[in-house]
């Protein structure tokens, strides 16, 4: 069978985010088994392992599951990702960090078995700025943009990109850190109230998101000018603030809401069959959709690998090849019951990062739902490309890696 490890975190400070993702990831594979009898006729098996978002437990989970023929790891935490980059390389198992992890892994020439399609943090920063450019008729010169970020490796990711972009577009950029866990953000929001930036971007996670949104509402910051990264845009983040959160925006890696055919199938084959993962109450939420989307991409890569190697029960190495040859077209999405859910893209040996496309969604507090307000927006490759090249070159030098794909 096809083994998919799921390093989930259903406990600990980030459990609220971890549960829906894990449910979505699990339910999709259950759906494939129930509806299609697996992928290419081979049943899938999900091996879930609880990490609690903790690096050491992540390592333990990896070691415990890798022997079972795990095809691809989706570690879900930047910390664990960094652990696994060298380990998976040594063990020849591919790693998929969708919308997180080490951004420069997009450079397939250096990172042979790490993939971070369809978009990464630097894309995210650029997408947000591009959205603002759209809103302002292409000119944001002189505008003040602040970034409220989680004071960790994750939160610091977009800073470099935004600095570059501020040079390019002439806006004033200011980064405001919030230390873990982020329960108390008075200083930061008083500062924002004082400086009245035109826009605030946010790279937050966990309780920091909820408090930030609440505080923004408290100082009556115009919510439509407040944009979070895709990890700051789930129902969890906005619900506690109630009506105050109305109008808050965040980036979206994929479609939102339950108006996709796939949900009918999930209801029918998974939920009604009593096979839903977890408590079964997360279906349709943003992070559930993300887990499902990640699973779909993995399944597609398996199909690709099966096609390439002409075998059903593929190995991790073959899976890697499948991922590198992955193509997601409108038809694929349609066929999977997710029309327009994600971008169309293809992966190549050089480019493991996908197209870098994302959308913007906005929260409607009265309807208690997110709605997409833009189509896919691209990122500024002119800015990001060199950054990725620089960072991956440094990694290659440090670890004596010679470039592939030549």
């Amino acid at each position: 069978d096809l083994v998919f490890p799921s390093l989930s975190y259903r406990t600990g400070p980030y459990a609220a985010g971890g549960i829906p993702f894990a449910d979505g990831y699990a339910d999709y594979f259950t759906l494939l088994n129930e509806r299609d009898g697996g992928i290419g006729g081979v049943p899938t098996r999900l091996v879930e392992c609880e990490t609690g978002y903790n690096t050491e437990k992540g390592v333990e989970c990896y070691e415990a599951t890798k022997g079972e023929g795990s095809l691809v790891y989706q570690p879900l935490s930047t910390g664990i990702t960094y652990q696994l980059i060298p380990k998976t390389a040594a063990d020849g198992i591919p790693l998929h960090t969708m919308g997180y992890g080490r951004t420069s892994a997009a450079n397939g020439k250096v990172f042979g078995n790490v993939f971070n399609y369809p978009a990464n943090y630097w894309d995210g920063a650029s997408i947000a700025v591009n959205h603002l450019l759209d809103l302002n008729g292409g000119d944001i010169g002189g505008k003040k943009i602040s970034l409220v970020y989680h004071n960790s490796a994750y939160g610091k990711e977009p800073i470099r990109t935004l600095e570059e972009l501020s040079k390019k577009h002439g806006f004033d950029f200011k980064a405001i850190p919030v230390d873990h866990p982020g329960q108390e953000q008075k200083s930061q929001w008083l500062q924002i109230r004082r400086e009245r930036p035109d826009y605030v971007l946010m790279w937050g996670w966990g309780v920091m998101n909820q408090v930030a949104i609440q505080e923004a509402a408290n100082i009556r910051f115009p919510m439509e000018n407040f944009i979070g990264i895709w990890w700051s845009g789930s129902e969890n983040d906005v619900l506690p603030a109630g009506d105050g959160a109305n109008g808050y925006k965040s980036l979206a890696l994929h479609g939102t809401g339950s108006n996709y055919p796939i949900y009918t199938d999930i209801q029918k084959f998974v939920v009604d069959a009593g096979k839903a993962a977890g408590a079964g109450d997360q279906i349709g939420t943003v992070l559930y959709s993300r887990g499902m989307y990640a699973a779909m991409l993995a399944a597609e890569a398996v199909k690709k690998a099966q096609a390439i190697h002409g075998t059903g029960d593929i190995t991790p190495a073959q899976m890697r090849d499948g991922m590198e040859a992955l193509e997601i077209s409108a038809e694929t999405l349609e066929a999977n019951g997710m029309p327009g859910f994600g971008p169309e893209f293809s992966v190549s040996c050089e480019n493991h990062g996908g197209p870098g496309l994302g959308m913007v969604q906005q929260w409607d507090a009265s309807a208690q739902s997110w709605s997409l307000i833009t189509d896919f927006i691209g990122s500024d490759k002119d800015v990001i490309g060199p950054l990725i090249a620089e960072d991956s070159a440094a990694f290659a030098a440090e670890n004596n890696i010679s470039e592939r794909c030549n």
Partner: protein, 358 residues
Amino acid sequence: MFYREAGDFKTSYADDNQTFPIRFDRVRYYVVLAVAFGIIPFIINDYWANAVFVPFLIYAIAAIGLNILTGYCGQVSLGTGGFMAVGAYACYKLMTGFPEISIVLHILGAGFVTAGVGVLFGLPSLRIKGFYLAVATLAAQFFLVWLFNKVPWFYNNSASGQISAPERTVFGVPVTGANTDAWAKYLICLVFVVVLAWLARNLTRGTLGRSWMAIRDMDIAAEIIGVNPLRAKLTAFAISSFFVGIAGALFFSVYLGAVEVGEVFGINKSFLVLFMIILGGLGSIFGSFAGAAFLVLLPVLLKNILVGQLGWATDLAAHIELIIVGGLIMVFLIIEPHGLAQLWRIAKEKLRLWPFPH
């Protein structure tokens, strides 16, 4: 009479002072060493190394370190995580700054750097006592983590703020980096553990150890009979930090290979190591091992039983695991507040008397 010490007479004070005055204990100790060095390296695999042995050995070092400070010298510290971070970052800077020098020296160097930092944060202990000191050491914890996160020099300006250990070898065998074999990881940690435990044992049984314990048991009286509290406390901080620093360095370079400071060396780490020594037994080197083994193994074991054997959902299992770990901590403390080491001692006393009840 499973356990005998009768007939084991000593004819010199030096003999009487040895670590295991009782022959039975001594033999058992050599057997353990023989297995650790002679058998385990040949059968160990990645899972056992990475999930059990390597973390156990490294935590044992950290626990011995903290036990010196807390168990022997009575200064409760919650800054262990921060000091481990110092060790890790010092090791990283040394590894990347002087790649031609042996990793073993880097690790030792990291220990010395940490010792220095430890002394610095130990200074307030001259004024501040008890839980006040414990909470005060959190200042070290939070400040150090913040510092390593904030100053790019510490992580060589890498874009992510993470540090990753490059490959380094000992006698041509890689011990850090992705290509390290399980046995190599295990063995280097084991060597450090054995040497450090031996040093700790020597230090704690001599004059210095007695001055620590005197300060712990009654600091004023200790001072009046001639213990210099400044010296006693600062040496405890220094030596404890040295151990903890080495643990941090190994944790980063050998065990994890890549580290983000807030996540790996956060306050939870401080608490974890403290648990180990309290559960294991304050003021006992054996206790440090017992505590580390217990807290490394228990979660792994529970997980394997609940998820692996019983097939429970991981989240239920994780919650129940929390309940069980918390419950066991309480139960253990109720049964024997002085830790596993004391349980072991009582068991020995019982065995000695066996089959008589008293």
